[in-house]
C-alpha cells in the first residue's frame, strides 16, 4: 500500500518558492494562508540551506492526538486530512505541530480565527471527490485524478519529491549514490557539485575553475544502477 510522503533535498532547493506558488495557484488558497513555505537556514551566508516545509503527514500525527473534536483522519494512503465542518478553529493543532503546518485564515472584520487549513497532499477532503464543494473547502483532489502534489511536480530542481515513500526514497537514494560516484571537486561544500555531483569524475579533474571561468561542459550522467528498485 502506498504511503504518501514528501522529501526535500536541501542540497538542491534554491529557494525559488515555485512550490509555494504552485500550491497557492492549484488550490486557490486565500491571502495570508501558506500551506507550504520555504525555510532558509543561515540566509545570506555562504552555504545557506533551504527546505520546503508543509504538513509532513506524520505517521503518529500530534495534531490528530490533540484535536478536541477529533476532526482528523488518515486515509489509506497515509495522508492526514481533516473535516472542516467539525473543526472549531481552536488552534491546538498549530501548537502541537512541529512544522507549523496548520494555518488559520483571518475571517471577518475583526480577524476572527477561521477553521484550520493545511496541506492535503492534494488529496481533497471528506466531500465528493473532485466536486466544487471539495475544491472550495480543501482544494483540488489531484490524487483522485491520478496525479501527485502540484508542489513536487512543479519543483524545477526536483529538490522536493512527493509520492509513495518507497518510490521517492528509491529516487533519492539513487541520487545520493550518483553524487557519491561522481564525487565533489575541491571547493566549498555547496553548489552545483554538491547537488548534482562533479561535472567530470574527480579522478579525471581535480581542479576547480577559477572565478569567472566557465566550467567544462558536463557529460550526460549515466543511468544510475544503485537503489533497491
Amino acid at each position: 500500500m502506498a504511503r504518501m510522503k514528501f522529501i526535500c533535498d536541501a542540497e538542491r532547493c534554491i529557494e525559488c518558492n515555485g512550490c509555494v506558488t504552485a500550491c497557492k495557484q492549484e488550490h486557490d488558497v486565500p491571502w495570508g494562508v501558506n500551506r507550504r513555505r520555504v525555510v532558509t537556514i543561515n540566509d545570506g551566508v555562504p552555504g545557506e540551506r533551504s527546505i520546503s516545509v508543509a504538513c509532513m503527514h506524520c505517521s503518529d500525527a500530534p495534531c490528530m492526538a490533540v484535536c478536541p473534536v477529533d476532526c482528523f483522519y488518515r486515509n489509506e494512503a497515509g495522508v492526514v486530512l481533516h473535516d472542516k465542518d467539525i473543526c472549531i478553529g481552536c488552534g491546538y493543532c498549530f501548537y502541537a505541530c512541529p512544522f507549523g503546518a496548520p494555518q488559520f485564515p483571518q475571517t471577518g472584520a475583526f480577524g476572527v480565527r477561521g477553521k484550520m487549513d493545511k496541506c492535503t497532499f492534494c488529496a481533497g477532503g471528506p466531500e465528493v471527490p473532485t466536486s466544487d464543494t471539495e475544491f472550495k473547502k480543501y482544494g483540488r483532489n489531484r490524487l483522485a485524478e491520478g496525479k501527485l502534489p502540484a508542489c513536487a511536480e512543479m519543483c524545477s530542481t526536483k529538490a522536493l519529491l512527493g509520492g509513495d515513500g518507497d518510490v521517492i526514497s528509491d529516487i533519492y537514494r539513487n541520487r545520493v549514490v550518483m553524487r557519491a560516484a561522481r564525487g565533489t571537486r575541491s571547493g566549498p561544500p555547496w553548489g552545483w557539485d554538491t547537488a548534482y555531483g562533479a561535472a567530470q569524475p574527480v579522478a579525471a579533474t581535480t581542479t576547480t575553475p577559477a572565478p569567472g571561468q566557465a566550467p567544462s561542459p558536463a557529460p550526460a550522467p549515466a543511468p544510475a544502477t544503485g537503489g533497491k528498485s
Binding site: 492526538a65 466531500e127 471527490p129 509513495d164 539513487n174
Partner: protein
C-alpha cells in the same frame, strides 16, 4: 552537621528512585475516533472506479517522472 548530610543523602536517593516510577510521556490516541463525515479513498471514483491496484500503479509511474536520471536516458 552529620544529620543534615544524612538527610541530604536520603533525600537524593529518594529523588533518584522517583525517576523509576516515570511513565512514558508519549500521547496515545485511539485510531478510528474520527467524528467527521465519511471520506472517499482516491481510487474509488472515476477514472479508477475502485481499482486500487491500477491507482497505485499510476501513482508509482507518475512518481518516476520526478527522477531526472530516468528522463535523461
Amino acid at each position: 552537621m552529620r544529620r543534615f548530610a544524612a538527610v541530604g543523602v536520603v533525600a537524593s536517593l529518594l529523588l533518584g528512585l522517583a525517576a523509576c516510577g516515570e511513565r512514558p510521556q508519549v500521547i496515545e490516541y485511539k485510531q478510528g475516533t474520527y467524528q467527521g463525515k465519511p471520506f472517499t479513498q482516491p481510487y474509488q471514483n472515476a477514472p479508477y472506479n475502485g481499482d486500487k491496484a491500477a491507482w497505485e500503479r499510476a501513482m508509482s509511474q507518475r512518481a518516476q517522472g520526478q527522477n531526472e536520471y530516468n528522463r535523461v536516458k
